[in-house]
Symmetry: C2
């Protein structure tokens, strides 16, 4: 087995953290109740979550995605009440 | 000119609201400073924004997008310090 360092690639991650179905979303409720008075009575199902963008250096996209998933479970999301989805974009070689 | 009602289609919108470049992002800074202690020293450029999902009924996708853009400028984002991007997905006919 060789321990030669693999070149690292910089990936950009876009993470969306939202409430799990059935979990109360007070911020979404406030927006939804404000909309009709502004003339937007045709809007419903407003849900407000977090959008996190970050850059991560990893040998390949699978490694980048695995690390971002782990970070979501440990730090960025609360798995009891929140769902998350991850998109990975490749940027440039570091 | 005819006033016959056009059939309405239900669209889903995904809105990402983030800080404009150069605007301080304290929440992103806190996360970025916490990551090395958890073993994630290879992460940088952390930015935290809002992700808003909603349903809107409109005659076509262009009308749905125009309305969501107007809602972002008037209510959902603060154009002085925030940028927003909008994705529209068609759901089903109402």
């Amino acid at each position: 087995m060789s321990f030669r360092a693999q070149p690292l690639i910089r990936f950009e991650a876009r993470i969306e953290v939202g409430h799990r179905p059935g979990i109360l979303d007070p911020q979404g409720g406030v927006i939804e109740r404000a909309l009709p008075a502004l003339g937007y009575g045709n809007v419903s199902h407003v849900r407000v979550g977090k959008s996190i963008r970050l850059a991560v250096e990893a040998p390949d996209e699978a490694a980048a995605r695995a690390q971002v998933e782990e970070m979501c479970r440990r730090l960025l999301a609360n798995p009891v009440i929140e769902d998350f989805s991850i998109e990975i974009f490749s940027a440039e070689t570091v």
